[in-house]
Amino acid sequence: MSEFVSRGFTGRRRTPGDLADRLPPGQYAESGFPVLTAGPTPDVSTEAWSLRVDGMVAEEREWTWEEFHSLAFEDVPCDIHCVTKWSKLGTSFRGVSMDTLLDEVEPFEAYAMIYSYGGYTTNLAIEDLTDGKAWVVTEHEGEPLPREHGGPARLLVPHLYFWKSAKWVAGLRVMDHDEPGFWEANGYHNRGDPWNEERYWTD
């Protein structure tokens, strides 16, 4: 730890007590929901949307919007942490657990690449997607997920920085090796655990 102190800095926007304990290092609480996207916002209708799980699995599957909605939905109250330093505490989403989806396809390898409409990709270990840690969500705080936030459906992996929660999710490919996704190839950390402040390659 450096002992550097910024002359004249007192911290005028501190998050109070119990909420501060929910902020990972270097994050601040933001009440809004900023939009961060690397390119134009894709326009995906629910008629055109489907979710595919393929790659090294016992059985590849694809769900249309309607088929997806026959699966078990659950509410997901969570805090989310963006690598650009804001966190949104006490928000909620609604969707289908990745456990439900992966149970149906039976992955037999340890890595996954998530791919999205518009070409975005992000890599995750299957371990980070299972045991109640990841969802495909279609609602945010009781409303359909807005397009700019990834609607009709996005991945939600709240225990990792939010670039892993791919917007406009189209599918998941199970792979026998790890491979960097879009931001992971462009300077951000391969795993992105906010509590270890894994922001960039060198962290």
């Binding site: 450096s2 007192t10 270097g26 879009f182």
Partner: protein, 241 residues
């Protein structure tokens, strides 16, 4: 075992203590800070640095700021910072930092919203979204003056123009609130005519930076102008500060 003791790693991406060598007021809400870095490395135009402030009791705040300078300015970086009223780091820079002060920074980071010589390049900036684009424009002028690049820059009023004394023939400005007196150029939000001002956009790589609303509408215009979606790179800033 003494000989195997690890030395402190001094590589890019690690925190270092920079010294503020020069401060320039750009607009009533924007100042540029030139920082001398002990572990400087060349950045790609468009990259950012993280800044970390530490209070005496250990409380810390971090934010990211785009570099405005060209990597040809060796040993230094220029961070151009918009003062956000409800922010924590930008008001500190504006209200407290003076020349000679030290600030903790690390970078340069990420390699997507960067110009690597793509030609032609169309830069579209709204407000302080012009900052990373200015690094591209400045670097092009010095390193590749023949490479076609132009900036379309949307500001509210004449006094909000950042880098005003450096905008030349390669920049098209539009005033969305109040143009300067006698202004005969563009006014209002960026439209397709402004993008076309200065040449066709098809085949260009577009770099668009500004608020989310600005980036959304500018990306749509870029698509309409025939720029392929994979050649449109955007950077959006939300309510940060």
């Amino acid at each position: 075992m003494d000989r195997l003791t690890a030395v402190e790693q001094k590589a890019p991406g690690h925190w270092q203590i920079a010294t503020v060598s020069e401060i320039k007021r750009e607009t009533p809400m924007v100042k540029s800070f030139w920082l001398e870095l002990p572990m400087w490395m060349a950045h790609c135009p468009g990259q950012h640095y993280d800044v970390r402030l530490t209070a005496p009791d250990g409380y810390r705040a971090q934010r990211s700021y785009s570099v405005a300078s060209s990597p040809l300015d060796r040993g230094v970086i220029e961070l151009t910072i918009d003062r956000l009223a409800d922010g924590e780091v930008s008001p500190y820079f504006h209200d407290v930092v003076v020349e000679g002060d030290q600030v903790e920074v690390r970078g340069p980071f990420t390699s997507y919203f960067v110009w690597r010589g793509e030609r032609p390049a169309l830069l579209i900036g709204g407000g302080s979204g012009v900052v990373p684009l200015m690094a591209m424009l400045r670097h092009r002028r010095r390193a590749e003056p023949d490479s076609p690049m132009r900036l379309v820059y949307s500001v509210r009023t004449a006094e909000d123009v950042i880098f005003a004394d450096e905008l030349g023939d390669d920049a098209v400005i539009t005033y969305t609130r109040e143009p300067p007196e006698g202004w005969t150029g563009h006014t209002g939000r960026i439209d397709s005519a402004m993008l076309a001002d200065g040449g066709p956009s098809a085949g260009a790589t577009a770099f668009i930076c500004g608020s989310n609303g600005f980036v959304e509408s500018a990306s749509r215009l870029a698509l309409d102008a025939g720029i392929e979606p994979e050649r449109i790179r955007t950077e959006r800033f939300g309510p940060t500060g």
